[in-house]
Amino acid sequence: MTLSYLVLREVRRRPGRTTLTFFGIALGVAAAVSVALTTTATRRLYRDMFETLTGRAALEVVAEGFVGFAAAVASDIEKIDGVRGVFPIIQAPAALLTDQGTAPVLVLGIDPARDREVRDIKLRAGAYLDERDGILIEAPFALAQGLEPGDAVRLLGPGGFMATEVAGLLDPTGVGMFQGGSVVFLERRRAAQLLGLDDQVNCLQLVLEDGAAVDEVETRVAAVLPAGQRVQAPASRGRLARDSLLSTEQGLASLSIISLIAGAFIVLNTFHMNLAERRRQLAVLRAIGVTRRQVMGLLLREALLLGTAGTLVGLVLGVLFSFGMTRGMGDLLLMDLPGLQVTWEPLLTGLIVGIGTTLAATYLPARQAGRREPLEELCSHRRTDVGARPGPSVWVGVLLLAICAVVTTGFLCGWMPVDLITPTMAATLIGFVLILPLFLTPLLFLARRVLVPLFGVEGEVGLRILERQRGRTALTAGVLFVALIANVGSGSSIRASVRDLDEYFERTIVADYLVRSAMPDIGLLSAPAMPEDLDQEIARLPGAQSVEKLRFLPARVGDQPVIVMARTVAPDLPVHLDLHNVAPDEARARLRSGEVIAGTALIQRLGLEVGGTLTLATPSGDREVRIGGATTEYTAGGVILYMEWAAAQELLGVKGVDVFSIGAAGGKAAALEAPLRAFCDQRGLLLQSNADLRAAVDQMVRSILVSDWVILALVFVVASLGIINTLAMNVLEQTRELGTLRALGMLRRQLRRIVLSQALGLACVSIVPGLLVGLLVGYLMNLATLSLLGQPVEFRVDWVLLAVCLVVAVAVSLAAAFFPARRAAGLEVAVALQYE
């Protein structure tokens, strides 16, 4: 018999505890892995998309605002050392009109003769563009649209409508997610015509010589470019998209960290108790000559066994979860995420983290166990609780919280990168759990106030058990505590933001109708543009009073990518913006005089000032623009500039309209609908009424809230597993005393009440600080949105959330007590009395 055999025995002797520990680890790992996989999938999606667009090009030349420019410069660039080829292309969103309706697409105007040098595309059916005139689309998209090679289709762009046919079908490129749309390849000159670019292109893709230094080539190319054009790495265009994903990713990352922390607590707890229960057994081993090192090895081996098994199952569960989450994420982002590809990085992370946490959680208790004097342990009736006095961990907690306070101040003042919010939140959580023992005395006093009147003697006994085993009480309560902080914290902050968002739309959605070619992609904020002169036609419809043109344009202020929102500003109509420190009339006047109104997030991020100027990169070089005001904006994460239509045309050369915003004459809103709808149907355009828009906003708000409730439920599931686990072990350890109580004449139901009162006591201990600290964390997270959005979101205490958390926490505790209570009541007394 080896010592390892003892480990297996131990695992087998306690099937209940082993199972619970095992699932605690598995659940923690599963949550972390599924979130990691989903995040990776989303990130890869964006990367794939940019890769398809850029192909082998290491650099690209674009004009500011991504407007068209003459391709003439290409011949100069081609001569530059290190450049192998220059490929002029046109790339812009457009709409594809089929019998089934309108789908947004991304048009890629290429030179069919040469394009294979820069891009690999595989033809699945039909013919390539050099053999047949028409367009190439992705096969799955074609299937969804019921299209085959040879079918006639129409495209809509700022240059108007264009009739063509499907020439061939391609293997999917990864761009397929584009609003459930596709990339459409067509001949460059045809694309120019569709997009109203005449002879121009809007991108030159550069393929470099093998081994050429990208930096040096970039410098040389920059030297030959005219003002207003710029050379860049293709990926930098992805930055804006990544920015808008940041907040979603942050939510996912916090969730995974929280579930990891909760999982780690469960594991820590399990082994802590496991040891407390086996102290005598271990002491006997020590007494018969087993060395400290061997005891430690024994426990670590047990942890390794459970950790590995739990982690493996967790990995499988994680992959399963991530299928569901990817779909949910797709719904949230209004995108079709590509099929989940399981990459090894998240799995490896899960493996290391799962087993690592387990071992780390075991190391300290194991070391303690190895250190203790065997004799002390053998006199078991003299045993004292390990965590009776606040140990060094409390001071680690205090230190951790102090550091977090400093870092949080950093976020508020803007000198801390927001990437650190998630780790800071994790550290804050751990910090608070570590200092929980400091507040145990008053909390237990509070629990007494609740339990003794409620449960009488049983409450008293249950409470005594909690009081005497403070270390374990603190750890168990810690699990629920973490769950509450996470839920109340993220819940309050999300809710506050959502409410703010809702109110923002309430104030700013004033148009009676919107006309667009398709819904925009919220990742790239690009939508197919429509010809400008449609506004005249719309204005002639009966009942239409005003028609405003809107266009989102990518641009740059210094190095910061921004979105310019170009719009017509009528002299006689109010400006519906959430303005700061400037009257609406004044704002209108300033816009009309060529000034911009900037989103507060942009102002905050670049340290700008209302009344000052900013430097906007334009196709004709850098231009100073005066900032006429600030406005709260959620579009594009608030990194936005409002500009009057004419000014935008002059500075950025806008062509095409993303959205027509239509106001009806007084009382004519309903009457306008029929002619407007006919107008749109005829042209394959999308019509949204004010009610549609509000419904869409409501839908979005609801889906955010729903996903928040789902996260909440998930966190509580992890927590309740932890509490079930701890209580079950608690009861196991009390077997002998419970047996004594039965021998003394306690009824079965009284024993059940003792266990229930312990559960409720644990709930009391964690609920009060959990809700309070949760609110604090929520408040801080809210403040942190200041640096993300540039404006503070008003924090309000959400009583519904608090009430739900409170009720659920109590329910979870009581439910967790069910099995342990049943076990306690079902004990056979004589057997229980002999329990060691």
């Binding site: 009081e467 005497r468 306690m746």
Partner: protein, 249 residues
């Protein structure tokens, strides 16, 4: 039942087995035992002979495999768990070899526990607890936790707890097994006095001949059967009794 009033405990053809097939252990193999009220019965026998099992079955902590047990005129088999518990709470006191005090309660609270469980008034509880603690001579240590008491003191707390409900029957399983001879003697004198002054019925399991010598009657168990029985009268000199007991062992 004619002898209802005079018989505290009666077992008929009592058996108790543990485990199944191969691992089956028959701890009791047909015990017929009648203990009159007010008797001090000592149970002796080698380790594993079934002494503790007998006490557990009599006290309703464990169910017999066959045969009947009557305690104070109640057939235990006819009682449901709650009734059995109430019987234990009000009529039977337990004293265990390993004390089995509730570690998280002080001496005083441990003693008060049965009264509190029974829902007695606070004033009554306080008075009873004070009385029994005086009885076992522990008034001074009442605020201590079990871990802060010596083994003898803990056993005296356990005795006080067993007596606090004024039970008619006390079942004691090697109460002196963990004590030095001086403390053991003190405990035994307390128990003997209670039998003499209060008409208590006491069944005492012991390995100690000196303790057994203080009983009124002695049964000797081997392999789950009563193999020897003896009335010890006050007339016997204790030296005589001890000699006989040693022969038995």
């Amino acid at each position: 039942m004619s002898n209802h009033d005079d018989v505290a405990v009666e077992t008929v053809a009592l058996t108790r087995a543990f485990g199944k097939s191969d691992a089956r252990v028959e701890a009791l193999r047909g015990i017929d035992l009648k203990v009159p009220r007010g008797q001090f019965l000592a149970v002796m026998g080698p380790s594993g002979s079934g002494k503790s099992t007998l006490l557990h079955v009599i006290g309703g902590l464990s169910l017999p495999t066959s045969g009947t047990v009557q305690v104070q005129g109640h057939d235990l088999a006819t009682l449901d768990d709650d009734q059995l518990t109430l019987l234990r709470r009000r009529r039977v006191g337990f004293i265990f070899q390993s004390f089995n005090l509730i570690q998280v309660l002080t001496a005083e609270e441990n003693v008060a526990l049965p009264l509190v469980i029974d829902g007695r008034k606070r004033s009554e509880v306080e008075q009873r607890v004070r009385e029994v603690l005086e009885l076992v001579d522990l008034g001074a240590r009442r605020h201590h936790l079990p871990a802060e008491l010596s083994g003898g003191e803990q056993q005296r707390v356990a005795i006080a707890r067993a007596l606090v409900m004024d039970p008619a029957l006390v079942l004691a399983d090697e109460p002196t097994g963990n004590l030095d001879s001086l403390s053991g003697e003190k405990v035994m004198r307390i128990l003997r006095r209670l039998v003499d002054t209060r008409g208590l019925t006491l069944i005492l399991v012991t390995h100690n001949s000196r303790d057994a010598a203080m009983a009124d009657r002695l049964v000797y168990l081997r392999d789950g059967r009563i193999v020897e029985e003896q009335i010890l009268s006050a007339a016997h000199s204790s030296r005589e009794v001890l000699r006989q007991l040693e022969e038995l062992a």
